[in-house]
Subunit: 327 residues, 2 copies
């Protein structure tokens, strides 16, 4: 059986994760990397590298293109643009803008008869699926999402913009007592501050005013002001040694009731504990590239999310094998 | 908007659970109960009761029939039979016989142009979905399923068949140290005995030989011999008061690795903690009745499992709402 051929656009942590994820599959291979950078400067784990603007001349060499750019500026234009010629999968994660992104991709994909799967990863992605399944099954209930413990790139970047900061790493930490209140079926109303802590590891310039920096971080609107934040000053070597990874994870919980008088309580809990956020996200993208290929092979086109895709389509197994082995 | 009308065949714990679950929905109503028993002897929470053999004369009164019989003798014949006239959903849970059950339902459903969704519930069902999603995403890894703490009807029944036993309740209990070994990424090879304990609460006849009964339980092949089993003798009142519920639950875990040298570990964990096994199972059945209705309304027919059904189809929300609110 010939393998499904995928290519990536962009080769940062996520693009590299995609290449590594394909090594764990038997039915998918990575045949090309496209980059804005000079191909000779991009070191892959084996996949050939081409210039992004030459992608059309490689059209016959892959079945699905995984877009590994960022949600802020890359994907809003790239996904609708590349779906004009390719089946694509992206990890667009700006929750508030998903409807407009979906509409833009859908319009182009329907014209080109290609499939565009958007917002794939773990949140949005696997977490969204668990919110859907659990709220559909327990309609009488409350949903909760907690993130972490894990590194937030956005918050780490925000700290790096403070004057006097050399480097920083920010961890989002779910508050255990809040999690346990949900698990106990107490259906708590939780403020932002009650759900997560923010832990910051910060390297500053020699002689910098640490009190001022700590205050600027803790009072930063949107990023930190609404949270209990701890700031730890460390040297650069410690930061690299102890905080060099990109772990993440989190919890989706649904607490619900059934019965004649709501007397039966039920708890559905899904959690992830990930050593590498980009490698795991890439693994989800690769599984959904399989679905994109299969949908298009069946003649389907348009934009899709994880909600629209039958689970069997992401598995390397046939539906017969799935029913026999894991149903 | 008119509601989706569902009926149930069989009104035991599961059928009653279905009726209660529809009360938590806005778009589904229960319009009929069909029973082998004399209708006047069946006390529902409001739904009208009819004789099972009159079901064809009520064909226009509901969209989906939920089959609430048992997997051993009822469903293997009922599901293929009733899908000749109705869209059906069942909770067939004999894992080893799912392929043949699927084939039998599929053949009849394709002829009648109806939809038959089989093996719906939490295991098979939500647990199966989590096995599929997690092994598809982390192909390089191991899956584990633990059940409990919860009541096993089959094991409770087996104890009741021991001479001198008046009543009994058996709990399946996952072994915490095994769960934690999986969570720690140790990928243990676990024997049956290492995964679960069996806790039995047993009421015996006056003057019965407790030592003989305890030994017969603990050495019973298939049911108890392969497990560490504890037997607690209690009086009937205690059994009813403290062990009268039907709780259940369990865990599906996937431990996997990614990276150039498998250096990144990941853990996906899904768990359920249910006060009422039948009420929760019924809630899943009702959500999939929604999908059965929608699939058939789109002109689809044949047998389906949870693997074949796009998640959005089980939600009361539209795909637009889902993308906006929970993606």
């Amino acid at each position: 059986m010939s393998k499904i051929k995928i290519a990536v656009l962009g080769y940062g942590n996520l693009g590299r994760g995609v290449e590594l994820a394909t090594r764990n599959t038997k039915d998918i291979e990575m045949t090309a990397v496209f980059s804005r950078r000079e191909p000779s400067s991009v070191k892959t784990c084996g996949a050939p590298v081409f210039k992004m603007d030459e992608i059309l001349s490689h059209k016959s060499e892959f079945d699905v293109l995984i877009l590994c750019g960022g949600s802020a500026t890359d994907l809003p234009t790239q996904t609708p643009e590349f779906v004009k010629n390719f089946n694509v999968v992206d990890s667009f994660d700006t929750h508030a803008k998903i409807p407009e992104h979906f509409a833009a991709v859908d319009a182009e994909a329907k014209k080109s008869k290609k499939v565009g799967v958007i917002a794939v990863g773990w949140d949005p992605g696997l977490f969204s699926l668990n919110r859907l399944y659990s709220e559909s099954v327990l309609e009488n209930g409350e949903s909760y999402t907690f993130w972490g413990k894990g590194v937030s790139q956005g918050h780490s970047d925000a700290i790096r913009r403070v004057k006097g900061v050399v480097d920083a790493r920010q961890y989002t930490v779910p508050i255990e007592s809040a999690l346990n209140s949900v698990r106990n079926g107490e259906n708590p109303k939780l403020s932002t501050r009650e759900k997560h802590l923010r832990e910051c590891y910060v390297v500053v310039e020699d002689g910098a005013d640490k009190a001022r920096i700590e205050n600027e971080i803790k009072t930063m609107p949107n990023y930190f002001a609404d949270y209990n934040t701890s700031v730890h000053f460390v040297d650069l070597e410690t930061l690299k040694r102890e905080h060099g990874g990109i772990p993440h994870g989190g919890f989706v919980l649904r607490s619900g009731k059934t019965g004649e008088n709501d007397e039966s309580k039920h708890l559905i809990e899904f959690s992830l504990k990930l050593d590498s956020n980009p490698e795991f996200t890439a693994s989800v993208l690769v599984a959904y590239a399989r679905a994109a290929y299969r949908l298009n092979a069946k003649g389907e086109s348009g934009a899709y999310t994880v909600f629209d895709i039958a689970p069997a389509l992401i598995s390397p197994k046939s539906t017969e094998e799935l029913r026999k082995e894991i149903l």
